[in-house]
């Protein structure tokens, strides 16, 4: 008995040593939605974070320490996100990265600012997050107001529409996207003839689409998540609504599922996007191919942003004088680098603070695939305009 207990004790002590060896790890816990309605995007991001971490560790980690990621499921609920972040701050994590929905990002940003811990927003689009004079909140992705820059540029230079219908889902994301598009349209002298919101998950859009049809707009602009986007295009096809252009405000329209579900109804649809896998940002293609090889599809811009965020964090942690939240914040503020997602530089301008202003793009579904069509200097294929009427399509 005594020998046995000594053995156990010995094993325990050895274990402690082993644990100690790996104590030179940099643990980073990331909140994101792993269950619930946004789980798909949480998953894309999780995979991308993991790919980046593996690469970083293969090259020696961050200042010699191995980057170990943990993921906490916020279920896209703000109070859960907040609880998670408070737990992380309690565990002395000096930097927060992550979240997906704008509501959760807002909740996390409030906590981070209060507790003076730097927070890097990766995918949330609501403009207000970086308009509140927060010093500790940084955002890598373009905001709602700029999401559709390329689409608008395409419209003004090629399509030259006189009227527009805006259909959007009633969440934070849809509402801000629609508001911004309406503002831009008015500035450009485009008449917004219909502006309708719908509740996410709606079954039948035909009443509202019939209304759009009656108004005969030149452009139909939709801000939706993927399944609503597919249903909208399918029902537009059913009703044979002919517009000069069907345009989507990112998210749902920019991922492969849109094409898979809407099938031929998705052809020629243009959408805004923040990133595309054929861009020649350094590392973009490598990352995209790696992701596709592992998971079967090219990653969306959410994934690319998550992937690059790890490199931005690495950069900041390496530049920082120490790993106190203050020093990390200072290092983050001075970020000016090129990543697979694009250029990352946090600026205070136009009423935003610590916001990265990067270029956005327009994709078009051509022959069943997304192609980048605008700005033309980045284009992977030539855009098709004017598009054929429904009746004339095979």
């Amino acid at each position: 008995m005594k020998r046995f207990s000594l053995a156990v004790l010995g094993a325990f002590v050895l274990m402690l040593f082993a644990v100690n060896l790996y104590a030179a790890d940099l643990e980073l816990a990331i909140p994101l939605p792993l269950t619930g309605s946004e789980a798909k995007f949480g998953e894309i991001q999780k995979r991308s974070y993991e790919i980046a971490a593996a690469e970083i560790n293969a090259k020696g980690g961050i200042k010699g320490k191995r980057l170990v990621l943990h993921f906490e499921d916020s279920q896209a609920k703000p109070e859960t996100a907040r609880a998670i972040v408070e737990k992380l701050i309690g565990n002395k994590q000096p930097i927060i990265v992550g979240e997906y929905t704008s509501s959760c990002a807002k909740a996390v940003a409030a906590v981070a600012e209060e507790r003076k811990i730097p927070y890097l927003v990766v995918a949330s689009a609501a403009d207000e997050i970086t308009q509140k004079n927060y010093k500790y909140v940084f955002r890598q992705n373009a905001t709602n107001a700029h999401y559709a820059d390329a689409v608008i540029s395409f419209m003004t230079q090629v399509v030259k529409p006189k009227s527009m219908a805006i259909i959007y889902e009633s969440t934070n994301f849809g509402t801000s996207g629609a508001e911004d598009m309406e503002k831009q349209a008015r500035k450009l002298g485009i008449n917004v003839v219909v502006k309708e919101k719908y509740e996410k998950g709606a079954v039948d859009f035909k009443p509202i689409l019939s209304k759009v049809k009656a108004a005969r707009p030149d452009v139909i602009y939709m801000v939706s998540y993927v399944m609503d986007a597919s249903l909208l295009m399918k029902q537009i096809k059913e009703l044979r609504i002919d517009a000069k252009l069907y345009a989507g405000g990112a998210a749902g329209f920019a991922i492969p599922e849109f094409i898979q579900n809407a099938k031929d109804a998705s052809e020629y649809v243009v959408t805004a996007t923040l990133w595309f896998h054929k861009l020649n940002y350094p590392g973009a293609k490598a990352y995209a191919d790696k992701y596709k090889q592992k998971y079967g599809d090219y990653p969306s811009y959410h994934g690319a942003s998550a992937y690059s965020a790890m490199y931005v964090v690495k950069n900041a942690l390496e530049k920082a004088k120490s790993w106190s939240p203050e020093d990390i914040r200072t290092a983050l503020k001075s970020t000016d680098m090129m990543t697979a997602y694009g250029p990352v530089k946090f600026e205070d301008k136009d009423g935003y603070q610590n916001q990265n202003f990067h270029e956005t793009f327009a994709l078009q579904v051509l022959k069943g695939n997304h192609e980048l069509i605008w700005p033309t200097k980045y284009a992977s294929a030539k855009y098709i305009y004017p598009i054929p009427a429904w009746r004339d399509r095979r």
Partner: protein
């Protein structure tokens, strides 16, 4: 009544009051604050549902109205959202009278479903009346009143204590007697001269007011609300019913026990590394088991619970 039993609530209150001094982590304090808040909502619901027998599946209406009272005040006038609490009392009262007028004439499943529908109506109105509520963009407080947890803890502890006392006083008064009479057999109660509409309305109003106060607290504490959060059917209305039914209907401590289970255990299971994703399944099963074996909740069927574990006397 033994001295111990008489002073039990005070002892509990005293212990809780000393919690912040122990120096628990912010995360744990956050969970405890949520537990206390849900105790308030549970106790409030219990007054209407457990004692008076009117089961509401739409208490989110009161919670949301309370939260938005604080939120709208803050957003449109810049006055601190804490003033939202007294406003929430008035707003919740009005809402209670309105809902009462519409729904209290209905019985049984019809009442239940009508409250469910009304809760959803409030949510949709909040989403669409963007000029007042900011719709789905939500309302965010720029800077919350305190960074530390302790002040919030004491505030919600105070509210919980107040609610507990009010429920106890009402339940042990003549009103409470009328409530139970209405619950057991409304027609018989009426024939005895009890104005069931009046007393149901009183129960609904008290219930709504305290739930509204909890909502206003939520706005101040979380710093961010939107219709999908505070008027939620699943996360607020149904959770309220579960808190009370699991904890124990028509008991004083039931809602508190229920809040501990639903909030605390739920968070515990959620953060388990591998099982986490299936936590709702586990929770659903727990719910089903409790409903089948302990129909009056844990506190309500406490003797039965003890028996299941082999303690206590046989019936």
């Amino acid at each position: 009544m033994t001295t111990m039993k008489k002073y039990f609530p005070l002892i509990v209150l005293g212990c809780l009051a000393m919690l912040p001094l122990i120096g628990l982590s912010d995360y744990i304090m956050h969970i405890i604050i949520l537990v206390l808040m849900w105790s308030v909502i549970g106790m409030a619901w219990n007054l209407l549902g457990g004692y008076c027998g009117q089961v509401s599946f739409g208490h989110a209406a009161f919670f949301g109205v309370g939260a938005y009272s604080a939120g709208i005040l803050y957003y449109h006038t810049g006055i601190t959202a804490w003033w939202g609490m007294p406003i929430a009392v008035g707003a919740a009262l009005l809402v209670a009278l309105g809902i009462g007028f519409i729904s209290l004439r209905l019985r049984g499943p019809y009442f239940v479903l009508s409250t469910l529908a009304i809760g959803e109506i409030f949510r949709i109105f909040a989403e669409n009346l963007e000029e007042y509520t900011q719709g789905n963009l939500g309302i965010m407080i720029q800077q919350r009143s305190w960074v530390e947890k302790a002040p919030y803890f004491y505030i919600i502890l105070g509210i919980a204590a107040l609610t507990f006392v009010v429920v106890k006083i009402v339940a042990e008064s003549k009103w409470g007697y009328y409530f139970v009479a209405i619950r057991e057999d409304q027609d018989a109660a009426e024939s005895l001269g009890i104005n069931s509409t009046l007393f149901k309305t009183i129960a609904l109003s008290l219930s709504g007011v305290f739930t509204g106060i909890a909502g206003a607290f939520y706005m101040n504490y979380m710093g961010y609300i939107d219709p999908g959060i505070v008027f939620a059917l699943g996360e607020i209305s149904i959770l309220t019913v579960m808190v009370v039914m699991v904890g124990g209907v028509a008991t004083y401590w039931g809602p508190i026990v229920g809040a501990v289970i639903m909030v605390f255990f739920s968070e515990l299971i959620r953060s388990l590394p591998t099982v986490g994703a299936a936590h709702q399944t586990l929770f659903g099963i727990l719910l089903i088991v409790i409903i089948i074996f302990l129909p009056n909740g844990i506190v309500g069927d406490f003797p039965k619970l003890l028996r299941l574990f082999g303690i206590g006397r046989k019936p």
